[in-house]
């Protein structure tokens, strides 16, 4: 069952530079897909396009419904987006208000929304943080609040833009554990190729707005020639160790 289907998707920045050039792919329900590519490949644009936040050409089907300017608002009810920069996602005075922001548009009353929000906070081990404000939290904690906002929505599709950026190895490990506990279809744009290997079952290699290859992460990331021709590197865990054999 394909949950997301993209046909001939193109997008051009307002200065006329093309960002996405006719992409076609389908993602199954429950799949975990990494978007990988050099800076400027179009990863963030693709995530924004799927979320209906850009004016694109081509077709995007979400749960078989075409995404248009008109129904973007209602289709977004099935999606969550965890942005690169937590400070752009957290704008309410307290943590719990941030986590519950917008839950009313999903048809939840205040009490249900609060319960969901608290459950989400405890999933990211931030119980007791409800009344604190985001600007008093550490970077890792702010990232966790962002993930909690997505968890509280219980979306069919969750989009992550560079989730491990600026996290120390421990915070990154935490994220990976949480990611495995989450349900639904996940799409994750990242430069962290080791993260791809630990979290995703398939990946899309993007470069200059085009899909170069779609397939299993270890096969694509292990292909030295392919990686080098797209300004990437085979991650260490896939290279043979100098003193093996």
């Amino acid at each position: 069952m394909s949950q997301l289907s993209v046909k001939g998707l193109s997008y051009t920045y307002s200065d006329g530079v093309p960002a996405l050039k006719g992409l076609d792919f389908q993602l199954e329900t429950g799949s975990r897909t990494a978007l990988v590519g050099p800076n400027g490949a179009g990863k963030t644009s693709l995530l924004l396009a799927i979320a209906g936040l850009l004016q694109t050409q081509g077709e995007i089907l979400i749960n078989h419904a075409p995404l248009t300017a008109k129904n973007a608002d209602s289709l977004r009810e099935h999606m969550s987006f965890v942005f690169q920069n937590p400070d752009e996602m957290l704008f309410m005075p307290t943590v719990i208000e941030d986590v519950c922001f917008g839950l009313d548009t999903l048809g939840l009353d205040d009490k249900m929304a609060l319960e969901r929000g608290q459950a989400a906070l405890s999933q990211v081990s931030l119980e007791g943080y409800e009344q604190r404000s985001a600007h008093h939290l550490s970077y890792g904690e702010r990232r966790k609040v962002c993930i909690a906002t997505a968890l509280a929505r219980r979306s069919d599709i969750t989009l992550f833009d560079e989730p491990s950026r600026e996290l120390d190895p421990y915070g990154r490990r935490n994220f990976i554990d949480l990611f495995h506990k989450m349900t639904g279809t996940m799409i994750l744009a990242t430069h962290d190729l080791e993260l791809v290997l630990e979290t995703c079952t398939q990946m899309i290699l993007l470069d200059e707005g085009q899909i170069i290859k779609m397939g299993k992460p270890d096969e694509i990331l292990g292909d030295v020639q392919l990686m080098e021709s797209h300004k990437l590197e085979v991650p260490h865990s896939l290279t043979r160790h100098p003193h093996s054999h």
Partner: protein, 213 residues
């Protein structure tokens, strides 16, 4: 500049902190009106008595708040430069009444002290919520709460920009200083615009269509 801690005592646990924001806002309003509108109506000796009684009340309230006096007094003293300026101008013009200046300065000190008791015992967002319950227009409250949220971020950015200047430039002065600082402000504005775009996208993702709760 202690910017990160402008309401740093607002999360303490004291009898005054536990009072509802509504009580405290109303209380402060009544105090300020009494101090600035009612006491001045009295005759000169009574004014001094009034100010003395007012001060005593403030001391009692402060004692029940566990906010340090030193903090309240040092922040209240921020009014002194203005008083000094007015004294100076009046002194130059020969239109100088020592008693009047002391009275005015005491009133401003007490007024700031009173407001500080509110902001040091009530988190800012609680004040906003209460103002909103009393019918303050939504747009006013929203902008105010965004302002508070992003102030800390902007301060961090301006500090970083200043560090970058110090790192590469020992003494920026005069004309060049204006150019450098206006560039910094311009850069900050550009980034604010871009951040605002992203914030709006994040709001849209969570169902925001223009109606703010």
């Amino acid at each position: 500049m202690n910017h990160a801690f402008i309401d740093r005592y607002s999360r303490l646990d004291s009898p005054l902190h536990k009072r509802s924001p509504a009580t405290k806002i109303l209380g402060v309003s009544v105090c300020l009106i009494a101090l600035l509108f009612v006491i001045p109506l009295l005759n000169p000796p009574q004014i001094w008595a009034g100010l003395l009684i007012y001060s005593a009340i403030m001391v009692l309230i402060t004692l029940s708040s566990s906010v340090p006096f030193s903090f309240l007094l040092s922040r209240s003293a921020l009014v002194l430069p203005f008083s000094v300026l007015i004294v100076f101008v009046n002194y130059v013009s020969g239109n100088f009444s020592f008693a009047q200046m002391i009275e005015t300065t005491v009133k401003s000190l007490l007024s700031i002290f009173t407001l500080l008791l509110l902001t040091s015992t009530t988190p800012f967002h609680e004040i906003l919520k209460q103002l909103s319950r009393w019918g303050t227009p939504r747009l006013f409250i929203i902008i105010l709460s965004f302002m508070y949220r992003y102030f800390f971020l902007l301060m961090g950015e301006i500090e970083a920009l200043e560090r970058a200047v110090h790192m590469r430039h020992s003494s920026v002065s005069g004309w060049k200083r204006i150019r450098v600082y206006t560039n910094m402000i311009g850069m900050l504005l550009v980034r604010s615009y871009e951040r605002a775009e992203h914030v709006y996208q994040a709001m849209q993702m969570r169902g925001f269509t223009g109606d703010f709760p």
